[in-house]
Structure formats: C-alpha cells, structure tokens
Subunit: 417 residues, 2 copies
Amino acid sequence: MLNKNLKSWIDVKADSDFSIHNIPFGIYSDKNVKHHACSAIGEYIIDLFELESADLLDMPRDVFEQQYLNAFIELGKTQTNKVRLRLIELLCDENSILNKDKAFFNKVFKKQSNVTMLMPVRIGDYTDFYSSIDHATNVGTMFRDPANALLPNWKHLPVGYHGRASSIRVSGHSFHRPKGQQKPADSEVPVFGASKLLDIELETAFIIGKSTEMGDSVTTEKADDYIFGMVLFNDWSARDIQTWEYVPLGPFLAKNFASTISPWIVTLEALEPFRVKGYEQTPKLLPYLEYKGDKNLDINLQVYLKPQNGKENLICTSNYKYMYYTMEQQLAHHTVNGCNINVGDMMASGTISGPQPHEYGSMLELTWRGTKPLKLEDGTERKFVNDNDTITIRGYCEKDGVRVGFGDCTGTLLPAK
Amino acid sequence: MLNKNLKSWIDVKADSDFSIHNIPFGIYSDKNVKHHACSAIGEYIIDLFELESADLLDMPRDVFEQQYLNAFIELGKTQTNKVRLRLIELLCDENSILNKDKAFFNKVFKKQSNVTMLMPVRIGDYTDFYSSIDHATNVGTMFRDPANALLPNWKHLPVGYHGRASSIRVSGHSFHRPKGQQKPADSEVPVFGASKLLDIELETAFIIGKSTEMGDSVTTEKADDYIFGMVLFNDWSARDIQTWEYVPLGPFLAKNFASTISPWIVTLEALEPFRVKGYEQTPKLLPYLEYKGDKNLDINLQVYLKPQNGKENLICTSNYKYMYYTMEQQLAHHTVNGCNINVGDMMASGTISGPQPHEYGSMLELTWRGTKPLKLEDGTERKFVNDNDTITIRGYCEKDGVRVGFGDCTGTLLPAK
C-alpha cells in the first residue's frame, strides 16, 4: 500500500512528520486568517481554503473556512480521501501551478512556525478507554493486588468511561495545577489544596468520521469507515484527587481540569501501511469483539519533560502496538448497545504502556508511585510533574524509509492559582 | 417573592404546570415552523419569534429562530429574566395587543397538543451526580455492605461522573432495549444479549446559563448566577450491563444508550419561591462546599409506568428536597479544580430517592433488586421495565395555591433490535 516512489517537489527532511505520505488535516490561524482548514508538508502548512479558491480541490469552499473540521469530515471519506489524494498529486507534480507560480505558492504555503494551530474539531462527546494491558496491570499491581492485577472484566471488554470535552485544548496551551479534595494516608478527614501528584497519561485518540443513529451498532468489520483519523493525547491526571474521589463512579475532577491533543488529524488512510498484528487475546472474546486482519498499528510514541528554561528529557518510549484492544474493537463495543456517535467525537486509548519500565506511559508507573524518581539531565528529580514543566508527546510511524508523524502534543503546567 | 396577585387573562387550570408564575423556555416545531423558541401558559405555547417580530420583547430576534436555546441563554440572565418578566406583563395586561387582536393571538399562541417540543438546548457536556443519600444508601446496602452503605468519600463531596450527551433525547421518544455483556451469577464467563434488568432513574438536571474559562471556579455563593434553570431527567440504566462493566471506571454502556429530558427549562427565578432548607450535612464539609441560606427546593416528583395500551400506574412519589447536596454545591465542586463550563451543559442530580419505600427513584430500589415486584392495576407485575412500557416523570412545586411544574418527561422502551 506504501508507494515509495512518491516524491514531492517540496523539500521534506527525512525526519519530518509531514512527508508526502502523511497529508494530515488541521485548522490554523495567523494574523490574516481567523481559521482555515489546512494540511501539512515538510515545514509548511497548506491553506485548503486558498487552494479551493483557485478551484483546485473541487469541494464546497465553505467547509475550509470554518472554526473546525467537522463540516469537512461530514462530507464523508470518499470526499476527504479525494482531497488528500489530490493534495498528493499537486505536491508531486512539478508542473503544478503551486510549484510554478511563486505568488500563489506564498498564498497557499506558510511556514508552520509562522502560524498558530487551533483545535481541529469540535468534540461532541469524549470517551477514554483503558486498553493497554501493561498499564492496567501496573495500576492494578500498585493499587490492588499483584496476584489479581486485572479486574475480572478487563480481558472480556475494552473498559471505558466518559470524559469531559470542554477542557480539551490543542497543543501549546498551559493550565494551572488543579486544586481539590485529597485524603492523605495519615489523615482522618480529607483536606483541600493543590494536587501534589500531577501526572501525565501518554495516549492517542481517534476522531469519529461518520455519525450513527441511536440504536445502530458498528461492527469491527465496518469500524474503519467511522474512524476519520488519529491524534496524540495527554490525559493529565491528578492522582491524589483521583484516589479519593473515583469510587464508585470513576475519575471526575482528577481528569476534567485539562487534556491536550495534537493539532493534526493523521488520517486512517495515511496510517494503513503501518498496520501490524494485534495483541494475542486470551480468553476468546465474545463474537461482537472478534475481528479479522492486522488491526494494530506500529506507532512509536515518546514523552519529553522540559523544566522551565531547561532542556527536553526523554522520559518514556512506548508504542501503540502494545494496545490489547484495537480501535475497531473499542468502537464496536461502544456502539453495541445502540449508543450513537457523531462526527468529531473523540475516543482515546487510555495510557499506552509497554512491557519495559522505560515504556510506561505515566509518571505513576515510570516512578512506580514516586518510589523511583526520574533523574533529569539538569540534576533534578521528578516523582510527578512540577510547576512550569512542559510535557510533549510525539509519535510517528516509520517503515522502509517512509515516515508519517503527528507533530507535537505539548502542554505546560502552571502553578496553582 | 411569590406575587399571588398575578393573574393572566388566559384561563389557566389550577393543576396546570404552566401558571403565570412559571413562564419556562423551550423549542417547538409544527407544520409551519422548523424551530422557534417558546414559552408556555396553560394549555398554550407562546411563540417568542413571532412576539419579537412584532417588536414586543426588545431582544435580538435571531436568538428565537435557532435549533436550540443556547444563543438566547448566552444573552445572560439580565436579558432572559427581562423576557420572562415582559411575558408575565403581557399575559397579565388585559389591554395587551395579544388579548385584543385575535389574529395576532393565533399567530403567537398555539395549543401545546398541536406542536412538537424539541430538545431545548445543545448539551455540550453532561455530568451526572449521585447526591441523594437515600439512593446511595439503598444501593450501597444492596450491593456492598448494609453496615457501611455509604463509601468514605460520599459525605465529603458530591460524587459525580461524566455521561454521554449524544444519546439524550427530549420527552416523547422511544428507543430499543440495549444489548451488551452481562455476567450471570451462575456463569463462569460473560454472555451477550439484551439487558434483562432495564431500569429508570428519577432525576432532575440543571442547565448551565453562563460559561467560565478554564481555571475559573464558581463559589456556592455565586453558583445561582450560572444556573439557568431545571428540567426533569430519566437516566435509563441497564443494571446487568452496569454490574459487570462498571469497575473500576464507572458506568458506561449501562447508561449511554438513551436518556430522556423534559422539554421545558423552568428558570431558577420561577423556582426561587419554593426554596427550602437544605439537608443537615454532618460531618462538616470543607469550606468551598459550605453555603448560606435555603438552597434546597421543594419539588414534588412522580414516576408513572404505562404498559402498552394500558393505564398509567403511579409507581413512585419522591421530592427534590431529599437531596443531600444542593445544585450550588455540585457546581462549586465541579469547578473547584478549574474545569470550565459552557452554556447548555447539563448537570443531573442522580437518582432522587426519599426515605420511604414508595419514594425510591429506581425500579432497583422500588422492587428491592426484583425481590418485591410492583403490582400494576392490570394485574401484571414488574421487577424492572418491560418492553413497550412507557415511563413518565412529572414534577411540580406548589405553595399557597401557586403551582409551577415541568410538564412530562416521557420515554418508551421498545424491544431489543
């Protein structure tokens, strides 16, 4: 499926996330543009509204000048794929007007460093799964019982819960350390204050590309028709608030103060060449969760921690392929009861940990509940995230010299208000 | 605060929910109108777009011809209260053009029985609390330990979780019994099938009337500025799916297949005269949850079950005043960590049970897990909801002969697909 012969007349560095094989979608703004849909190649964004204004995409132009990509995505995969393939064509054709007409080039192409990326979609409902077996095992071992780390339902269904959509922000934002109730082990009663155990969760998420009606279910076989693409996701978590509040109805204030997503939606079509075999699932699942083919994805994932005025420290190297449940299974499960989904809904993976300690996707696991602090290059240590630390998640697929990546998913923790 | 002298020139029956003291807001459609904002008096809806078209409200007219009330609510309480008071004025003034001009009357007033009420707001995020002490105690007694029915956090914070907004439907809808995984007590492994324990939850919900920014917190003192009004809410629940799935991250597929809200938002201003003293809260709460004044509400609540082609059976009589936590406390808790809220967000009470068995707000409690079936007037019994049963929640305040009610919150359970 990978056409290695594709070559753009635009110079793209070998380590760029935005090769000719990617062509993701996002929304940008700059001093002249309030919000336009765009794609990316190398160090540039490509203004799709300007391209369509020159009749180069054969699409309704208004979908490219909206605040979010929802209207574009609602055109359907036939149309959005057509746009992506057309962009690849224009970017590979040396005789394209884009390559020949410098003034037009400058209208359409802008350096990524000169624009601001905005939220790519209006997220209606946001769901978070809990589908990494290493993460669930680590958490179960720490908080419950190493001998029975996984709860009885875990290997029978992709456990998930509803999250807060309002506080999801695009990469580059900052937010204040949350305050809330915690119950210290040595206290009879809960206390109120800033969270002391502020954590990250390395996740990815998929964006729904096709709506259903209430009562409809999406099978694992058809699921890919409903998945527009993927983003990186940091599900910031206040562990001390979480421990006290989450029984019996799940995480609430421990998570809904802020989450970060990357601005580029990498399409499922761009990710297809990087499919790999799924996790071996034993015991056998109920039929509605069975699937055929290679449905996992080989996505390299990294987490960096940068202290204020300091350097980036690579603190975690993981991979999406460690997921026990696939996106297709998650979506089939989510809709098997008739729950309807809408274009722009976001479904996150849950923390993606691998089997090795450096592959753990949260500080909770990386420092094993603070017992093994991380040592940073500046000599300081971290048990959890400190005030003014910046966390960046990066992710990319690589195969046969072809790279498709997500760009940065960055958020900065400010001190409590 | 209750002006008992108010009297409309429109005839309003004593048992009408829509007295001159109410003046709620909603959205309707009929054969000529796609969606207009409206209020209600007696057996009529009042078309606010038509009123404003005659310059009678002094508001931007476009907020009254939208699919949802969000834009109207975003005008702010000063404006929305002004509209409500202006309506009361017009409806009490015998010399109003509405009373004098029959043709105009017929343009503005329509029999409620001749229109279809639509979803009143576009709900961004939906939160469900768990704030009735009798409900939490009943559930804890049944599923955990009668001696320690309430979990340690329950009396320290209003436990809540995020729900699914996409499947909330307005009164009058029907939906199919959900299918999903359950684990029967006598089975080693989970099975798949239609839920056998389909339940209701008698709830109310409040609609957010003013947005905040991330990082902001709303105090209990200021909370009422952010609450536009209330609706009735049925949080349909599949108990067998819930029991198997909900540990450790809370209810998911057991609830997100369908929820029902009543179409009329009764404003906080209309409810103010029915404030009563709040539940005695011991132990003392952390300062951010303390509040002053009478912040509970005396709202009579009823649940009716109607078999297909049968009669309505009153199966529960409860009251909002049994709530342990007030809306103001719920909102202060929800935002204490900086979680931002948006106009149109909905926050539900959780099942509202009273101390007496006929006051329990779910079938689970009313039949005590199916051990004490309800006897209906047609001689049949119910442990949970049967296919083709229609459930209606009703609610109203009454004081000194003045009544303010919510109208019906009705949903019908169809057989599994």
